[in-house]
């Protein structure tokens, strides 16, 4: 008996280690939506999305429950710390010859990560997003960033999900008149050192702050929409690095440590360690106030010269195991119902990609009824929207930043 008992674990282990054949998957055609729906029923979608913000995780969990109920699609939210890691995983799978049955079904993505996947041919082999049933509600005319992701055409390979604009927040009880330009920021930091910081690049908010500085200090902003080469980069970023060299000693912890993402920075504001924080979500502070994370004296503001704005998307890799399920999920997240709930600052507060004026009357009313929150600037007060620079600028910025400030000597 002891022989069989000891043999059992070895037997089960070897059985379990036998590979199961992955299910063959052809690309479903979204124009034939009923076929897609029936193919999606019973599938499990592994949605790789940034998981550093619990309220976004809660929203995704709600979406998962709803698509399970309505369409029989199971959602597993794989919380990633950096979308670049997902790109790395998909690239490695392609290189290892994994043409189907990949680990990633749907990925929350934009910018240089999208460009990396698109250039390497890692996305779904044909346009699908602009053929989804709910795509007809998207505001392609009024929101051009849903068609061009960081100067690269989307070509229907990723479905728009939400809008983002860099907005700053301050506690009016502590700092009544915050600096609204980089020069003013430097002066204020010198007068009151250690009260400002930004997330450590390559975190996306930290990188965006670097781009923000670049926009204000670059001699000729037109170069930013074109790819960067060694010459132009050096010339354009000379004032940028001069500025950072001057600012860094007056940062929080004298620049010897940085928060790792914007949630950590917001917690620093709550702990009274810094006086200013920023995020891509204009409703972030209202959301935090509603959740008792920030005091209700926090308000938002933008810089005089404008702040960077972009859209974020959902993409399906070429070798996804559950392509139909991923399309169903993406379509649901694009629906007016899901977009209204997303824009509710008590849930998430992320602005919608839909053309609200063109929706049905009920949906329009529900959008209008959303209380944006006491710390949220209304859309007309959000200031000038600066477009994202070409992705090659950010790559070089991040490498150079890591070399100069990422290592303390």
């Amino acid at each position: 008996m002891i022989k069989t008992l000891l043999a059992a674990p070895f037997l089960t282990a070897s059985l379990a280690l036998a590979t199961l054949a992955p299910a063959a998957a052809q690309t479903p055609d979204p124009t034939n939506w009923d076929v897609v729906l029936s193919a999606a029923r019973g599938q499990t979608v592994y949605f790789h999305a940034w998981g550093g913000e619990p309220r976004i995780n809660d929203y995704i969990a709600w979406a998962g429950r709803t698509v399970k109920e309505r369409y029989g699609v199971s959602l597993v939210h794989v919380k990633v710390t950096d979308t670049a890691n997902v790109v790395s995983k998909i690239l490695a799978e392609k290189a290892a010859g994994r043409e189907e049955g990949g680990a990633v079904d749907l990925v929350w993505i934009n910018g240089e990560n999208f460009v990396a996947l698109k250039d390497a041919g890692m996305l779904l082999d044909r346009p699908w997003a602009n053929k989804l049933p709910n795509y007809r509600f998207v505001d392609v005319a009024g929101k051009p960033t849903v068609l061009t992701d960081f100067t690269v055409p989307v070509d229907g390979r990723e479905a728009p999900w939400g809008m983002a604009k860099l907005v700053f927040f301050h506690d009016t009880a502590i700092l009544a008149d915050p600096p609204k330009s980089m020069a003013a920021l430097l002066d204020w930091a010198k007068s009151d050192p250690g009260r400002f910081t930004y997330p450590q690049p390559p975190d996306f908010i930290g990188s965006t702050f670097l781009k923000q500085i670049l926009y204000e200090l670059v001699p000729d902003p037109a170069v930013l929409s074109r790819p960067a080469d060694e010459e132009t980069f050096k010339k354009a970023t000379a004032p940028f690095f001069a500025y950072l060299d001057e600012l860094t000693p007056y940062l929080w912890r004298q620049g010897r440590a940085y928060p790792q993402n914007y949630g950590a920075m917001r917690q620093l504001l709550a702990d009274s360690e810094v006086d200013i924080t920023f995020a891509f979500n204009p409703a972030d502070a209202s959301n935090a106030i509603a959740n008792n994370e920030l005091p209700d004296t926090v308000r938002s503001y933008v810089f005089d010269a404008g702040t960077i704005a972009n859209s974020h998307f959902l993409a399906i890799p070429f070798n996804a195991s559950a392509k139909a399920g991923a399309m169903v999920l993406a379509d649901f997240l694009l629906s007016p119902e899901a977009q209204i709930r997303k824009q509710d600052p008590n849930v998430w507060g992320d602005p919608t990609v839909l053309d609200v004026a063109a929706l049905g009357e009920d949906d329009r009313k529900r959008f209008a009824a959303l209380d944006l929150g006491i710390a949220t600037l209304p859309p007309e007060k959000l200031g000038l929207a600066l477009l994202e620079p070409h992705t090659s600028w950010l790559k070089r910025l991040e490498t150079e930043w890591a070399r100069r400030y990422g290592v303390n000597q």
């Binding site: 008996m1 002891i2 022989k3 069989t4 000891l6 674990p9 282990a13 379990a16 590979t19 592994y46 550093g52 619990p54 809660d58 969990a61 597993v76 939210h77 794989v78 919380k79 990633v80 710390t81 670049a84 890691n85 790109v87 995983k89 690239l91 490695a92 290189a95 290892a96 680990a103 990396a116 050192p193 250690g194 450590q200 929080w252 912890r253 004298q254 010897r256 440590a257 940085y258 928060p259 790792q260 993402n261 949630g263 950590a264 920075m265 917001r266 917690q267 709550a270 702990d271 009274s272 360690e273 959740n291 008792n292 994370e293 920030l294 005091p295 890591a402 990422g406 290592v407 303390n408």
Partner: protein
């Protein structure tokens, strides 16, 4: 069949480590055909050397490992030497299991919210004593020297070293030595160090090496408490591994080999330190000093060890408080309001990670216990004693830095289409769990009175019957405790689940560390608390089940 168990155990322990090292060595020299590396070359090492701050990262790993191990070791030895046999010692013995069961990440979080400039300790004295209306701009957590990280590691390594020392003490007759040295006029600490420590150290040498290797290569504590500009080497290897530029994978592999060298160097320095200490002790022994005046050292030892226990427990309490806190501003000692909101909203999201952690934990600890029982039973039937070679084999997965061989193992598993499979993940957990299970089971197993077995054999029962019907039931409590230790180890594993699980098997630990760098302290608190409660549940079961089963048998009650 039983004869195969030692070979099987050997394979389970050594196989993945060797496979992993091979999987890391080949890409380190440029050979990884899957992503275009066709020829062997030294290019990756060149790229590695060009990484900014590389030397600093290596030095960080080295110093953090050595200082952590040295301080933990000295504190534990001084405590045992100074307080063995006292009531305080017995109280500390009872605390060891609960302290051990708190995972590293949870203990690190707890420490962070305790010592950060806006943390509890500063709030206790601000602003009435310090005048700090705003938190001071001092770099405590994530400090560039790694002091916070060392503290976070020390408070967890002290219970572990205490456990292995306590297990070894009865075998070396520390009590009798203590009497002899006392009667010769030596102080408690001096007598212990001269008389008992050489024998004790021989027993705990391998666990100390394991602590050293772990401290040089830990990732989750480094992410929470360690320096960020630059981070220690293991964190950087992880970053390179996940870089979208696939060429960085070669750099990551060469970094893994570099880390092997760094850990090897740390072990070498420690061995030199041993020799130096031995010389020093020899000189002191013949110098004639009796060290009777050791009151200060004794009190220092007990203060430090109590402080370490206090830090872990206080940290957990603070995390619990944060998880139910409403708005909690600096410098308030308590939150303005309490709310269960966070628990209500995040518990549904914890269902999958909790389930995964429990499944993997139970699978790996049961498998490890089964193999350990098989190995021990084979050893007792064949009349063998454990050799040094077997012991080193046992400790090998703990001595090689995790990042080094897990990276390579990941490559091997992807090539074999095993990545993301539950069985592969359980196997890798087994590699780490098995040494601890075997360690915690061996002594009680060997200490069993064989005469019971003899009587059964004399009554014509076979060896199988002796095992199943007498030895195993009699030793149920140590077996369940060993399984609980294995379960606790599996719950706390971060890097293996992250790398081999390929994101398909999020556990409560990977969730907690993913939230670590984020700002939502309330959710972090809830996650860390859940993470700490799971092993605790395991240990409680290990206590309760034997008590229930043997409630009618007086002889089966634990000796008081």
């Amino acid at each position: 069949m039983l004869r195969l168990v030692p070979a099987g155990a050997f394979l389970v322990l050594i196989g993945p480590v060797l496979a992993g090292l091979l999987g890391a060595a080949l890409p380190a020299f440029g050979y990884l055909p899957a992503i275009g590396g066709e020829k062997l070359s030294l290019g990756p090492f060149g790229d590695l050397a060009a990484m900014p701050g590389l030397l600093r990262s290596c030095l960080l790993s080295l110093t953090i490992g050595l200082v952590t191990t040295a301080l933990s070791y000295v504190i534990v030895v001084a405590f045992i030497a100074g307080w063995r046999g006292t009531a305080l010692f017995r109280a500390m013995e009872r605390l060891v299991s609960p302290l051990l069961s708190v995972p590293h990440a949870a203990a690190a979080f707890g420490l962070a919210v305790l010592i950060m400039p806006s943390g509890f300790l500063v709030r206790l004295v601000s602003p009435w004593a310090t005048g700090w209306q705003r938190p001071p701009d001092i770099l405590i957590v994530n400090d560039p020297l790694g002091l916070a990280m060392m503290a976070g590691l020390i408070v967890k390594e002290i219970p572990f070293l205490l456990l292995v020392s306590l297990a070894a003490l009865p075998q070396i007759r520390a009590g009798q030595f203590g009497h002899v040295t006392a009667s010769l006029g030596y102080g408690r600490i001096a007598g212990f160090v001269f008389g008992v420590l050489p024998a004790l150290y021989r027993q705990i040498r391998l666990p100390v090496f394991a602590v050293l290797a772990y401290a040089t290569s830990v990732v989750d504590v480094a992410l929470i408490l360690g320096p960020t500009t630059p981070p220690p080497l293991a964190v950087r290897i992880l970053q390179w591994q996940a870089d979208p530029d696939l060429a960085m994978r070669f750099v990551a592999a060469s970094g893994a080999l570099l880390h092997l060298a760094v850990t090897g160097l740390a072990l070498l320095i420690w061995v030199f330190g041993e020799k130096a200490m031995a010389r020093l002790c020899a000189v002191l022994q013949t110098a004639g000093r009796r060290g009777r005046d050791d009151k200060v050292w004794r009190h220092l030892a007990v203060t430090l060890i109590s402080a370490s226990a206090f830090i872990v427990l206080a940290g957990i309490l603070l995390l619990a408080l944060w998880s139910i806190a409403g708005l909690w501003r600096y410098p308030d000692l308590l939150p303005e309001a309490f709310t269960l909101n966070v628990w209500v909203r995040s518990l549904p999201g914890f269902a999958v990670p909790l389930a995964n952690a429990v499944i993997i934990g139970i699978a790996s600890s049961l498998a490890a216990t089964a193999i350990a029982l098989g190995a021990l039973e084979y050893e007792s039937r064949a009349g063998l004693t454990p050799t040094i070679r077997a012991l080193v084999a046992l400790y090998l997965p703990l001595l090689v830095p995790q990042i080094a061989f897990l990276l390579g193992l990941n490559v091997v598993f992807i090539w074999a289409h095993l990545d993301g499979r539950l069985a592969a993940l359980v196997l890798v957990h087994l590699v780490f769990v098995f040494p601890y299970v075997l360690l915690s089971l061996s002594d009680p197993w060997r200490a069993w009175d064989r005469r019971y077995g003899l009587m059964a054999r004399a009554l014509r029962h076979g060896p199988d019957a002796v095992f199943w019907r007498i030895r195993l039931p009699m030793l149920l409590r140590p077996v369940l405790t060993a399984a609980a230790v294995g379960f606790a180890v599996s719950i706390g594993l971060y890097l293996p689940t992250l790398l081999i699980g390929a994101g398909r098997w999020p556990t409560i630990t990977t969730e907690a560390v993913a939230l670590a760098a984020g700002g939502n302290r309330r959710v972090i608190g809830a996650t860390a608390l859940l993470q700490a409660l799971l092993p605790f549940a395991g240990f409680t079961l290990a206590l309760v089940v034997p008590a229930l089963l043997f409630r009618d048998r007086r002889a089966m009650r634990p000796a008081a």
